[in-house]
Amino acid sequence: MSEHGVIASIRNVGHWTTNAVLRLGIATRFFTLTLLHSGTSFRRPRLIVRELYFSGVLSLIIILVSGLFVGMVLGFQGFHTLQTYGSESALGVLVALSLVRELGPVVAGLLFASRAGSAMTAEIGLMKATEQLSAMEMMAVDPIARVVAPRFWAGVISMPLLAAMFSAMGVFGGYLVGVVLIGVDEGSFWSQMQSAVDFREDILNGVIKSFVFGIAITWIALFEGYDAPPTAEGVSGATTRTVVTSSLVILGLDFILTSFMFRGQ
């Protein structure tokens, strides 16, 4: 009895592994197809604009509000810690660097995955379940060119913009708490921040990070939707997988990118 259990669990591991490799292969082919069919969506920018509205504009509120609050919390916590060393004037540096380098891209990416990524998966999964994608193919319209590629480019464009807004809002939140509420000297808050934050090293690297996260999130969301079993259960499972997988991928990619970008410092 127990022997059977052991064998079954080993078999499960094998099945899970081959399945994961297979899905990764399909996902890569899907990604290449999306890139190859992107020409249509660039010739018809209207399609991208429409998706920018759904994935970008509608994510604005959650991004801006979370950015503000993350910045305000950083202001409180940073002040509390820096006070022990008598260097409250470095509060601006702490808030700006942690937002621009890490929190901006990563938290904005996590929010984007759960706000826009899940919506993309659900939409495409339902399109597949209600056979809209098959109907398109019947009319000789390529669903990848018409449905997938515009969403992909909209996600890739909006992610860096959202991360930049998140960081800017966070710095403003840190300023509100640090300078307006607690009373850190305004001059040293901004001047120390400006002398410590480098445009290429910090801000551009943050933008590159958010760009990479944008590609990863939209790729995962679109693939999960496109690959979802055409049932209610399948779509709900795919939506969950989108959020879980893209969150893990963001954190893993963030570690890799950070170790490349900030190694020698």
Binding site: R50, L60, V100, L162, S167, V171, D202, I203, V207
Partner: protein, 156 residues
Amino acid sequence: MERSTLDVWVGLFVCAGIGALLVLALKVGNMSGFSAADTYRVKAQFDNIGGLKVRAPVKSAGVVVGRVSDIQFNNSQFRAEVTMSVDKHYQFPKDTSASILTSGLLGEQYVGLDAGGDEAMLKDGDSITLTQSAVVLEKMISQFLYNKAAEGNTSK
């Protein structure tokens, strides 16, 4: 009709995103800062630069007058060669001395310039000969202990 309002929102969104990037670049970063000004380069050799880094400030009388642009090891003299970019608005005499100082107890290190009395001014590519190295805590402590031990021997 529905589409045009959608376009307006997307336009606003993209503008806000680019605006946020500009704010980060100009207000948070130092794009607007010192680097844009005209500078001249001055070299100085130190026995030990401690923890000095590229882009550390160069100060005179507490005012930032430039930045460290390059740090090299001079293999013929076995000393550290620090290149500084100093703002053209600030001219210093030839016999100006440079020392590596620390802001606060645990703060960042910077190069301090003390003006001399020479008539001629430093030009682009000149070197500062009077330099003072960074204070290395371990050396100071060992010197202190050594002196203490020496004192103990003589008093016996």
